[in-house]
């Protein structure tokens, strides 16, 4: 069973090695002759104004909150989607699986419409 995950582990390992490798190899192999002009944030660009530690708008938080709930909804679709063909061919389940998911989604879409009408997706 673990054998199936070996490609996944390889991808993760490659991603980590690649990310760190590209960042640090330029530090290791490249020549380092810094001067104040080079070290500025945008060498040929506009001088930055202020710090990066700005307060973000609370709107982002609300979007993230809605995102998590939709995320949770998708989680429940996965087991159904993986097993759908088997469920459909199963005589004791048949089309029930389809309608069960339809009801689940319709119930959820009521919430979606509620948020839409309430203006939850508006940015301002």
């Amino acid at each position: 069973m673990l054998v199936e995950y070996i490609p996944l582990f390889l991808v993760i390992a490659f991603a980590i090695v690649f990310a760190f490798g590209t960042v640090f190899s330029s530090k290791i192999f490249g020549p380092q002759r810094p001067n104040p002009e080079k070290l500025s944030t945008y060498e040929s660009g506009v001088q930055p104004v202020g710090t990066t530690h700005e307060r973000m708008s609370v709107k982002y938080y609300l979007v993230a909150m809605l995102f998590i709930i939709f995320d949770l909804e998708v989680i429940f679709v996965y087991p159904w989607a993986v097993q759908f063909k088997k469920l459909y061919l199963d005589p004791s389940v048949g089309t029930t699986a389809f309608y069960a998911m339809l009801i689940f989604l319709v119930v959820f879409e009521i919430g979606y419409l509620y948020v839409y009408k309430k203006g939850g997706f508006k940015w301002d």
Binding site: Y60, Y61, I68, W80, L87, F108, K118, G119
Partner: protein
């Protein structure tokens, strides 16, 4: 020490080291990013235990969702770096009693259980059987979950738009 052990210790080290950073770092942004690594390590451990669905849920909900919420929460605050995160030492005696009792219970549990070495029988994939159960025995609970999510969505909409 086979491949399984090596992968287990890799994820365990990732989890524990990043969790230690979460506790001890002075910058809350670093703490949040280390929490990402902690949750990722736990997801890896779930997969190793054969609970692949829980592993995916851990990745999608916690790493992808809750952590973004935490990061946005951090970004909402005005000061990020120079915040005294550590609270002072308060209530030493009740705290030590609580910690001592918890440690005692944990030690009792660990020493009293007869740990057995079981032959590993990891199921192929749990998602399939989970889908079967969700659509057969627990179909009512499944629909109720839809209602629960609806309530959560309405609550979130009400918080978002007064």
């Amino acid at each position: 020490m086979n491949l399984y052990d090596i992968i287990f210790y890799l994820f365990a080290i990732i989890t524990i080291v990043s969790a230690t950073f979460v506790v001890f770092t002075k910058n809350i942004v670093y703490a949040a990013y280390n929490l990402l690594l902690t949750l990722f390590g736990i997801a890896g451990l779930y997969v190793l235990l054969g609970a692949d669905f829980i592993g995916i849920v851990q990745l999608i909900i916690y790493v992808g969702g809750i952590l973004i919420l935490i990061l946005f929460g951090v970004m909402l605050t005005n000061k990020i770096t120079d915040v005294p995160i550590k609270s002072g030492v308060l209530q030493v005696i009740p705290a030590s009693i609580g910690v001592g009792m918890l440690a005692g219970i944990l030690i009792l549990i660990v020493t009293n259980i007869s740990w057995r070495n079981m032959e590993l029988t990891v199921p192929e994939s749990t998602i399939g059987s989970l889908g079967m159960l969700l659509m057969n025995e627990y179909i009512l609970i499944f629909e109720l979950l839809g209602m629960l999510l609806l309530i959560a969505l309405i609550g979130a909409a009400n918080i978002a738009r007064k």
